[in-house]
Structure formats: structure tokens, C-alpha cells
Subunit: 638 residues, 2 copies
């Protein structure tokens, strides 16, 4: 006989136990109406996951407990597994804060079901402390719980016995990371199986990351297969942030059969009650409809990126109460893609594009900006900055009185200063002004390569509510632009010419379109910088030069063969370039990132909380220096 199981793929709002509980109660009602026997709800469904140090406010914890009681009270006739914070008020964590667990509670008929050994809940065992995750900062693990309660570690990971339709089922409960067994010394799923679990239920709070779902299908599928158990994965949707990073939670809850195959799956970024039946005797799992058997593939990266950015942006704007956006429109690809994105989400009349020409802006880019606005049907205006920039320059020449020498003097301005005055005039004077007056947020259109090396001006083009494209390399921005034209608007909203002109900041004679462009050579630097940031074992200048000497650099970086030789006429030029960008990446760019807007996270390593860094002097290791010397000596000799 089959029982009905469901994943309640809910949208969770961090820090709002009141709203989340309302949402949970609605989901329980729906499930009860559908005769669901066992309903899973996500990890920390009551408080939300990314709430920062709010975990250190006891009243917030008490509030979450109170709402937890409401959920328990609503479990008449249905077994509900839900995530909430569990507090042991009599004990303290190592930092002196009250002892907390990231816990799963199991409720039925208005009461908690004991999870074994006299415990009321299951605690997360594996507490991630990498990327944006700070679990050990707040939570103790299942091991600590057992030590506290003097339970033998041998008995602590047993499944929870639950009676459904008169029969006992032994449910192995995992919380998120507990299932990611790759590098952990113990495997919680294996321990649960060993102790008699008949089904594994993983409740998660897992944000979208490019390629993570494929990895999950591989690891979780293998887990189900190896242990010959069905495995249910219940994830949440919604958008939560850590201050510097915004994360889109993709849902995609699903169930794997004992053969490791997905039997039913919920969509990305949508709330869903995913119902399926499980017949323990004949090991059959059946989705309710054929539609529920589809899983999302990531064959088209641009598509998955667009869906994630669109959802993340839409939700983040909703949370911050922003209904309009203001963008500087330069005629370049980054601002064009961002403009199209916001137009798609908010509608064209809610998007204001501002072109702010100085004497260095070409007719070409000015026309492209206007064309873009026209294609998107946005709001558009032109505000020249020449006069204001001249006025600023003049004011900076105001005599300064030195009270030590009792003499007056004047400062001197050079080209770079002049460039930055233009950028700040656009950002902090005009765009920030329009932001308030148009009642919209400013979009920071920096891409990941620019953010990596600090190619952008403090309080100039680096201002904004957030960076929707800040986790995309330049090549990904181009691909996204193509996707937007072809699949989103299905017409050339981003003028073709924008794809083909060489990117340029147009801040000086040398940088105008036609005469020059960005100093970043994206077909190489995108990939070089990526290796510094995204490689799990971060690449170093020493590693880069080793590969360069072994002619394996393009393969290592993943860029097109021949690129390196084409760009660099000599070893010396190669080393100079490497040192220049690495110094910026670890130098001034760090200072800029500290004050940069939040970044919408997509990759497995976005700048922000996900990539922690200190302002330090740029450093090249002894090994690097030795290899470089060897290389340059070679060049001088031959």
C-alpha cells in the first residue's frame, strides 16, 4: 500500500517568522486537503536561513519557538517535518550565546513526535563554514546535542519512527549539508541507513549556484542508489542575502528512487506542493503527473543565468520596496543588458535610462543608448556633464590656505583625476539625484572582471542598489545579451552594434570608441581573473607562470588556445601584465569591493561574503620571483 508524501517547496522570507508561519500553515492545509500523509518543509522554514547575527537576539529565538508551536498545533491528521531553530536555554555555546541548533521537528496530531533517545528534534550534523555559510558561528551540531544529553554517539543518528496509516515508517532526516557527503569524515545518510532508515528526507535551504544542481543529482542520486533507499530533497524558493551577496533559492525539490533516478521534481523558483506516492513494499515511487517528472537541465547556460538573475532581481526589488530603476546608459553592453533585464521585470515605464555625455562620448555610443531606450520603450533623458565637470575642476583650483606657512597654494589635476571626476559626476550627482527624484534604485552595471580589478570609480559607476551582473564575466554578459534579444524579447532590443564595438569607458581622448578601449583584454583576463577567484584551490601568480612555462596555461584557464601567444609579444610583457592585474586584484580593487553594492550571486564564488578578503599589500611568492627570473633570463639569452 502506498503512502502520499509531499515536499512543501515554500518561498521563505528571512527574518519573518510571522509571514513564513502563515505560509507554512496554508501549505499544511493544502497538503491535508490532498490527503498527504507526510509533508516535508524546508530547513529553517520558520526564521529563514540568512538572518546574520539576528540569531544572537534571544527574543527573536523565542518568537520562532512560539511560531513553531503554532505549526505543531496545526498538524492534525498529517505528519509534518519542518525546519526551525531549536534552543537549549539552559546551555551556552562556546562564544557565550545560548545554545542553538539548526533543527528538524516532526509533528503529528498537534504533538511533537520524539526523534529517538528522548530528543524532541533532529539537529543538523554538518555545519558548513565555507563560501557564504557561517553555520558554526551560530549553531551547535547533533554531536554536541548528544553529548549534552548523555546519549551514546552510536545511537544518535537513528531514523525517526512515524506511524502512517497504522504502520510504522522509519524516516531518516537530513538537514541540507548532511547530504553533501563528499568531504566529510562521516556520512550521515549511511549512518541512518545502518540504523534502519527506510527513506531519507533532506530538508534544505540551498541557494542556486551554476552547476550545483547537476552535482546534486550526481551525489544525491548516487547516495540513494548506494544505500538503496528513496531520497526526498525539499528545498525552498525566495531570495535571501548576507548583506554583500544576494542569493536566489531555486527550489527544484525532488525525489530520487532507490535506483538513483529522479522520480518527481518541482520547478525552479516557484512555490509548489510536490506530491508523490511511495509504496514501501514494491519500492515504487510515482509522481502525481507527468509534468512533475521533468527536471531542469542546464544545457543553455545563458538561459539558466537569465532565469536566476530575473528571479533574484525581481524578488530583491520586491523586498526592498523598489518599483523603478535608474540606469546610466553608455551605449555599452553591460548597461544594455541591465536595462533590458529591468524592463522585462518592471515594465518599460518604470525604467529610466540616462545618457550623460561629456566631450569624449562618441555620437555612435550616444545613438546606441538612445536606440536601446527606444527599442525597450523606456524612459530616456540626456544630461550633459561638461559644464558641471568644468565647474568642479575650477572649484578644485580654489586657493588653499596653509596655516602652518601662512601661504596659499593650489592643487594640480591630471588626466586620471579628470576621468574620475566625470564618473562621479554621473554617478553621485546625476544618477543618485534621479534615483531619489524618479523614486527608483540605481543599477550598478559592473561585471565581475571589472569588480575583480577595480576597473570603476568609487562613488562613480560603482554606486547603486545592487549589481545584477556582478557575478558574470564579460563573456557571460555578451551571451546574456544574445539570449535577451533571441529568447526574452524575441527582437533586437539590444542593438547589434553594441555587441561588436570594443568596450570603452570613454573618459579621455585615448579611451573613445574607435581610438581605444578598456585595458582589459577579456578573452584572456576574464579567464585569468576567474582562476584567482573561482578555482577552489585559488590560482596564484606562481601557478600561472608555471603553466605558462609548461605551455598549459590556456588549458588551465579554459580560454581559447593560442590566446596567450597572440596577446603577449614577450615573456616580459606576459609577466608585467600578470603582475599589474594581480596587484590591482589584491590591492585597490579590494578597497573598492568593500564599498561596492551587493552582488547577485550565481557562480560558485562571488565577490562579497562568499569571498572574504582583507586589504593587504599585493604579494608575490618567492617561487614566483624565482620562476620569473628564470623566464626573463631565458629571454635575454636567446
Amino acid at each position: 500500500m502506498a503512502i502520499k508524501i509531499a515536499c512543501g517547496q515554500l518561498e521563505i522570507i528571512s527574518g519573518r517568522p510571522d509571514l513564513n508561519t502563515q505560509n507554512i500553515l496554508r501549505m499544511i492545509s493544502r497538503a491535508r486537503n490532498e490527503d498527504v500523509d507526510l509533508l516535508l518543509l524546508p530547513e529553517l522554514a520558520v526564521p529563514g536561513y540568512l538572518v546574520g547575527d539576528l540569531w544572537e537576539q534571544s527574543d527573536f529565538l523565542k518568537d520562532c519557538e512560539t511560531f513553531g508551536q503554532q505549526i505543531i498545533g496545526a498538524s492534525q491528521g498529517i505528519t509534518v517535518v519542518f525546519g526551525n531553530v531549536a534552543v537549549d536555554w539552559r546551555r551556552k555555546n562556546r562564544d557565550g550565546h545560548v545554545r542553538k541548533y539548526n533543527a528538524a521537528f516532526v509533528a503529528r496530531d498537534g504533538k511533537l513526535i520524539p526523534t529517538g533517545q528522548g530528543l524532541d528534534f533532529v539537529a543538523k550534523t554538518m555545519l558548513p563554514s565555507y563560501r557564504q555559510f557561517d553555520d558554526p558561528r551560530y549553531f551547535s551540531g547533533q554531536e554536541t546535542l548528544m553529548k549534552d544529553r548523555r546519549i551514546s554517539l552510536k545511537n544518535g543518528w537513528g531514523p525517526v519512527p512515524v506511524t502512517i496509516q497504522g504502520k510504522e515508517y522509519r524516516i531518516g532526516i537530513l538537514i541540507c549539508e548532511d547530504g553533501w557527503t563528499e568531504n566529510y569524515p562521516v556520512s550521515v545518510p549511511a549512518l541512518l541507513k545502518q540504523d534502519g532508515a527506510e527513506i531519507l528526507c533532506n530538508i534544505s535551504s540551498s541557494p542556486f549556484t551554476l552547476e550545483k544542481n547537476q552535482k546534486r543529482h550526481r551525489i544525491f542520486g548516487q547516495q540513494a542508489k548506494d544505500l538503496h533507499l528513496p531520497l526526498v530533497y525539499c528545498n525552498q524558493t525566495g531570495v535571501q542575502n548576507t548583506g554583500k551577496n544576494i542569493f536566489a533559492f531555486d527550489g527544484q525539490s525532488c525525489v530520487y528512487g532507490p535506483d538513483g533516478m529522479v522520480k518527481a521534481a518541482a520547478p525552479m523558483f516557484e512555490e509548489k506542493l510536490l506530491i508523490f506516492s511511495w509504496d514501501r513494499e514494491n519500492e515504487k515511487i510515482r509522481a502525481r503527473s507527468a509534468e512533475d517528472e521533468m527536471i531542469v537541465t542546464e544545457d543553455d547556460e545563458a538561459e539558466i543565468v537569465y532565469r536566476t538573475i530575473r528571479y533574484g532581481t525581481e524578488q530583491f526589488l520586491k523586498q526592498t520596496g523598489i518599483r523603478r530603476m535608474v540606469l546610466g546608459a553608455s551605449g555599452g553592453i553591460d548597461s544594455a543588458v541591465a536595462a533590458a533585464l529591468f524592463t522585462d521585470i518592471l515594465g518599460p515605464q518604470q525604467v529610466l535610462l540616462v545618457n550623460m555625455p561629456s566631450r569624449y562620448n562618441s555620437e555612435l555610443t550616444k545613438n546606441l543608448a538612445q536606440q536601446l531606450a527606444e527599442n525597450l520603450k523606456c524612459c530616456y533623458t540626456i544630461v550633459p556633464i561638461n559644464e558641471s565637470v568644468s565647474n568642479t575642476v575650477e572649484q578644485l583650483y580654489t586657493p588653499i590656505h596653509n596655516y602652518s606657512s601662512n601661504r596659499d597654494f593650489k592643487v594640480e589635476l591630471n588626466g586620471l583625476i579628470y576621468e574620475n571626476i566625470q564618473a562621479r559626476d554621473r554617478g553621485s550627482r546625476i544618477l543618485a539625484g534621479f534615483s531619489a527624484a524618479f523614486k527608483g534604485g540605481v543599477s550598478c552595471n559592473a561585471n565581475k572582471a571589472e569588480i575583480a580589478v577595480g576597473y570603476g570609480t568609487f562613488y562613480g559607476d560603482l554606486i547603486g542598489l545592487f549589481c545584477p551582473l556582478g557575478d558574470l564575466w564579460k563573456y557571460q554578459v555578451y551571451a546574456l545579451g544574445r539570449y535577451i534579444n533571441e529568447k526574452v524579447f524575441k527582437t533586437e532590443v539590444i542593438p547589434e552594434k553594441i555587441f561588436s564595438i570594443r568596450p570603452s569607458a570613454e573618459l579621455s581622448e585615448e579611451q573613445t570608441v574607435g581610438t581605444g578601449g578598456d585595458p582589459l583584454i577579456y578573452e584572456y583576463h576574464d579567464y585569468l581573473l576567474r582562476s584567482f577567484v573561482e578555482n577552489w584551490d585559488k590560482a596564484s601568480p606562481a601557478e600561472i607562470i608555471r603553466h605558462y612555462m609548461n605551455h598549459s596555461l590556456e588549458k588551465f584557464l579554459g580560454c581559447v588556445d593560442g590566446t596567450v601567444a597572440r596577446i603577449f609579444p614577450s615573456h616580459k610583457a606576459f609577466c608585467q601584465d600578470l603582475e599589474y592585474w594581480y596587484s590591482l586584484f589584491t590591492g585597490l580593487a579590494v578597497a573598492k569591493r568593500i564599498q561596492a553594492p551587493p552582488i547577485l550571486s550565481l557562480s560558485r564564488r562571488a565577490f562579497g561574503t562568499d569571498f572574504r578578503e582583507s586589504q593587504m599589500t599585493s604579494y608575490f611568492s618567492t617561487e614566483y620571483k624565482v620562476m620569473k627570473e628564470k623566464l626573463l633570463l631565458q629571454e635575454r639569452l636567446f
Copy 2:
């Protein structure tokens, strides 16, 4: 017979193993020349402590290992205990990165001394993950090390046997947090004593925090006394940062006798080879000079705050290569204190004060700004912003074309928009311009109360290289101002009037000096906000209202009795005020902090990495709402 022990209180530079190693080698030479038998060097002395995710770059780790070998090689005739990262290249941490330990190595005569059980080093056991600390993100602990090497946990915390002058001494090595035994389930010092340690040596990387040293003397003194062992504490100096926070490491290395009393101590913020003798037989510890017996007291908070800010600022400027500073001088206390600070550090000719009057600035404050510059003998200039602000307003009225309706429209500006235009004009146009032209950093003069509620303008007064006063409440800024006049300059450099006028932003008719001032009532809000931020168990609106109802609020907050009744005419006014500021604190202010400059940390909780937060909607708990309703009902009824 007595042996000579020394603490090498070194200045450590994060991420610079090359420079740190040079410094360490010099210190070893000096100690050898002084016939020191046992030299202690700080935790992670080779790489530095706060290097962020650079721990994930294998080449950096290898480099640190190489430098560690140099230090071992330099230990001829002297026993050296030094902190470095230890790597187990064959194993992985839980996140897939190579296994690392925050380790202490013991070297003599060019070789490592085994630390027992076949191990080469002692690993830190207690890995802090509170405040700015992220140890578990990077390091495994002593327990993991022992499990890996199949050593019984019973034998793992033994002291290291070291032969000095022909006799064996058993040295119990602790790394920083291992000694802070308050809330940990096991006490490493007690385990070491139990296994026969004759002396405890704690090597640390411990930044200054107000009141921490008193606590350390209490805890460490008690530890030495309870275990009846001498305890040596070797800390570092220097300045390291976590991006958002700058920390001054205060040194203050010292030795506690078995009676718990300090026998010798090094000064704050200075490199020092602190030498003392220890006679094991008669338990005598003797400082080399009377001067070395002095410890720093914190009787005068302003003094200790000034010393820390001065040191932290000086070192941070040195590290970032900044030799000049630019400040907006408003005639208020915050900018005056900052101006005096930078003048004291850099000299008056390196400090540029810019007064930027609009139509709302009073003659009084303009004169005060000028007087300040004159008193400090700084560079000074006046740049009016009226014209530029008018021009900006005019430009924001440029017609905008709506390509959907094909009509033009104009935005509308209100008072608040106009205020922020002024603030941004000053910050991003003038000060940032002078920053480049004068080749100096901009000082962000925001104090902690302003940062807490976001009282400041994005890209306006919130710009800057860093916030030297960002961890001080307004009352602390005033105290610092007094201290600067009385003890630093010993003359009234900050004009007396600046202390007595009511603080005001002077951005509108309502806010000019005389007619009005800041909406923050510092004698109450300083303390209210402090309870939200610095209370270890963070205060909540519910807790505040509870205390208010029990007439215990002033006592709870630490402000003057009678303040609350004086300020609020009714319960309703009290609740409105509480909700207004708590909503800002947890709302818009979070967004501002995400993009704010780094803060020099002083308190036990500074905004930044030390206080992690997400942008969420402001939330008031059920309990708060119930209590408020009760309170307001009471008021309506009586």
C-alpha cells in the same frame, strides 16, 4: 637555577610572510644575543592572522612553509616557539580545501622538536567563530589532528618536553583562544597541567577591544593561580583588517606568576623583546627591569581610546600608503576630532580641511571650522556648493522622454532630495576631487550612532578611506575631543563652542544651528542603540518595552536616570520613537553599512565583519506587539 624566557612582541603584517620572517629572524638574533633560552613568538607570526580567503591559495601556504623552514634553521642555541600555518597536504578539510592548522612549532638547533605522539606541531584546539573570527572556516583543530594520526584523545594535549641548560622543561603550549576557557566544554590549560606542564605559554594574535585586557588579566590570572603554574602570554602588535573592520593588535604580552599576578609586561602598540627569568625550583619570576613590571590600566577610557585610534590609524595609513588626509570641516564635533587626530599623526600640512557652505550653513559653524583649521595649523579652503547644487537641481528637471507613451515628463524634487544633493555634492564632487588632487584619503567622520541608524547620505558624508570614529558613540566622541584638547595638544585646538552647540547637519531651514538639530537625542539614543549592537544577548524592542514598563530602562541601558521620562511625553511617543529608530537600524541603515567605508574597531561589537547582517524587512515580535497594545490601552484608559 633560573632560565631566561622572552616574548617576542612583534609587529605582524598580514599576508606578508617575507617581511614577517625577516622581522622574526631579527628578533631571534636579538634574543640570542641576550642569552634567552626560550623565545615565544605570536600566533600565525609568519602569514599574519586576518588574511581572509587567501588561506585557500595553496601557493601561499607553501610559501609560509618555506619561510617556516628558515625560522627553524635560525634556531641555533635557542628554543623558539612560533606560530605558523601547518598543512597536511594528503588530507582535505570538510569543504574540500587542503587540511590546515593554526599551529605552534617548537624549534631548536635548526630542527623541529617533536611535540609528542610523533607530531611536529601543536594545533589550536579552540577555533573561535564569533565576532570577526572565522577560524573554523579555514582551520581544523587539535582533535581532528589526533583523529587523523590515530592518537588517543587522552594523550593529545600533553606538554612539549624541551631541554634547556641540560634540564627538561615541560612546556604547555596554548594558542590564543585555547586560553579563553570561559564557555568551552574542555579547558586546554587544565588538560596541559594534568599531563605535567610546568609552565603555560599562550601565543596569541589578539586585537585590542575596550575592557578586554581587564578581562584577560582576570581570566588568565585566575588560570595561573588555579593551576599554580606560570603563564606567559605573547601577543603581537600591528594592524590587520577583515575588509570592513580594522583591528589594532595591542601587544601587552606579559607573564603571570603561579599566584596569578603579573610579573612582567610589555607595553601597548610597541614591538618589544620582553625578557624575564624563571626559576622553576623556587617558583620565582623576575622582570629584567622595573619598567617591565608596569601594566596598562584603562582607568581613563578616553586615553586608551585615543591611543588605540591613533595607533590603528597611523598603521592603516602606512599600510595603504596614504600620507595626507582630506576632511570636510562642518564646524561640528566629529570632523573636529578627526581633524585633530590626523593632524597629530600626519602633521598639519598634510591635512586639508574643506568647508563647503550652502545657504543653510550658519556663520557660527563656518567660523568654527576656520578656527579649528587655524588652531591646528592645517591647510584650509572654502568651496561653496550653492551654485553646483542649483545646477544639479536644474539638470534633474531636464525633460524625460517616455518611449512607451511618446510623451515628455519631469521629475519632482522635495526637501529630503535637496538635502541629499547637498551632501553628495560635498562628498563625491568636492572631497573626492580633492582627495585625488591633494593626494590624500578622505576621512569618513561618521560616529557609531549615525552609522547605526543610517543618519548620513550614501555617496555623501558616508564616503571615505575609513571611519576612524565609526566605533564610538557620540558621548565617546565628545570625551575624545576633551582628551585631545587637554592631553594631546594641551591647548584648545577644538574650539570650546564646538562642544556646546547642538549637533546639526545644516541641510535645511529646519536643521540650522539655533533653529534645530539632529533628530538623534544622544543622551538616550546612544544607549538605546548600543543595547541593540553591543549587548552580547542583543536587545530587542520587546526587551526595551519590558524594561520601560518595569521602570528599569535607564538602568538596563546605562543612561542617566530620568532621561526617558524627560524626553517622552507619553507611552505612545516612546513606542513611536522606538519603532522609528529600530526600523531604520534594521532597515535602510543596513543598506548603507553594506557600502560604508571600513570601521576602526574598538568596542566588543563594531559594525562590519564583527556584526553580520542581512538586508531584511524590519520586524517586531509578537510579544512586542502585545506589550505595546497593553501599554497604549493603559494610556487611553487613564
